[in-house]
Amino acid sequence: MGLGTKNFGESVKVVGCDIFIAHQEGVPQVPEHIGQLKLVSISNRGTKVWPGPPPKIHLTDVHTCRFVSINDGAPVESKEIIALLGKIEEAGFEWVHIEKLLEINGQAGFSKAQGE
């Protein structure tokens, strides 16, 4: 397990992260693959806005980008997430908040966006 996960109990596995990105116009064109992580959804105020048809909802200026391992269900190390944040900044995006996605005793410890 990577940096940080040693402080969790045995039942906890980090399986990805939600990165909140400030973006003014429409849905951000975030790279879909960065390193060993893939973008699986973008949501706005809890409603999925990518992938799929363009949403017909009012968008606020922060979008939640959900990344998981390209190897489905594989654990994700903190150093991969830190690298991901660097790549997102290099791509011109401003991240404002991050949540790790934990699986605890095999159960997802995070909600799905509406429509995800």
């Binding site: 969790f8 906890v12 949501s43 017909k56 909802i57 009012h58 606020t60 605890i104 509406q114 429509g115």
Partner: protein, 335 residues
Amino acid sequence: MTQENTKITLIRGDGIGPEISDAVVEILLAAKAPLTIEEEEAGLCSIEKYGNGITVGCMDALARNKVALKGPTTTPIGGGHKSINVTIRKTLDLYVNLRPIKSIPGIETPFKNVDLLIVRENIEDTYGGIEHRQSEDLAQCLRLITRSGSKRAARFAFETARKQKRKKVTAVHKANIMKITDGMFLSAFREVAADYPDIEANDIIVDNCCMQLVSKPQQFDMLLLPNLFGDIVSDLCAGLIGGLGIASGANIGQDCAVFEAVHGSAPDIAGRGIANPTAMLFSAVSMLRYLEMLKIADDIEDAVFEVLRSGKVRTGDLGGKATTKEFTNAVISNL
């Protein structure tokens, strides 16, 4: 000259939904409402048939027809199914929930002459449903409030106040504790209020508001609340006028509106023909007003008031023994 019918979507729903929907449709037809009704399925019935509480086809119909009347739907607890109501509200961006709270003749409650309108922001707050476990011990739900979302709900409230000739809008909040989120909600409210100098604007802390509501509800004209407080306070207010069996609701967005009874699907009495259709009927009345079919709306509302005032034909929840059919017939005979 014949008036072209307006097409609406009807979702009959689960439990008592189909029987109260049938009663409401029968009354709409008897009142000669110029509606064409396109029926769609959502809820438990849809999960059982299609594995999904609401299908793409149903969502397309709601978006296409723009106006819908909806019976109560059941969302199974657990199993990962999202609430149908939340799905519809968020997908169609129905950003306010409107709940009229008005004393009804013949319904005895501790309060007389209550007449207030609740506007609840319908998308944000904890209802974004963004939840994370941060450890084995700690779970969090993000509470999102935006200035833009708060402002459009506030503007809707003030515009509605003008249309309904109401005099005062009260913002309800907890900005003394949640200074950033509810502070933003409150400042957005004040910013919008400045555009409506003809309407009084004030604010109240939510806990004090609840105490005032159960002491002297007549002091309020309109309430504007963030989503979670709005959910709780609007049901509290339904209790002031006789309960959820007579409380109507509307979810309104820029392009679409869904009108629904606010009570549940009451599976314990489903199929027995004893459910009270009043809440859904009042929701239909609100829908007719939204469609500017004002005369028919007034006719139906007056007929329901007359039946309730006379007290002769009442369903069990209001202390009577009438069946849904007997109540429906009584309303029709008073049209």
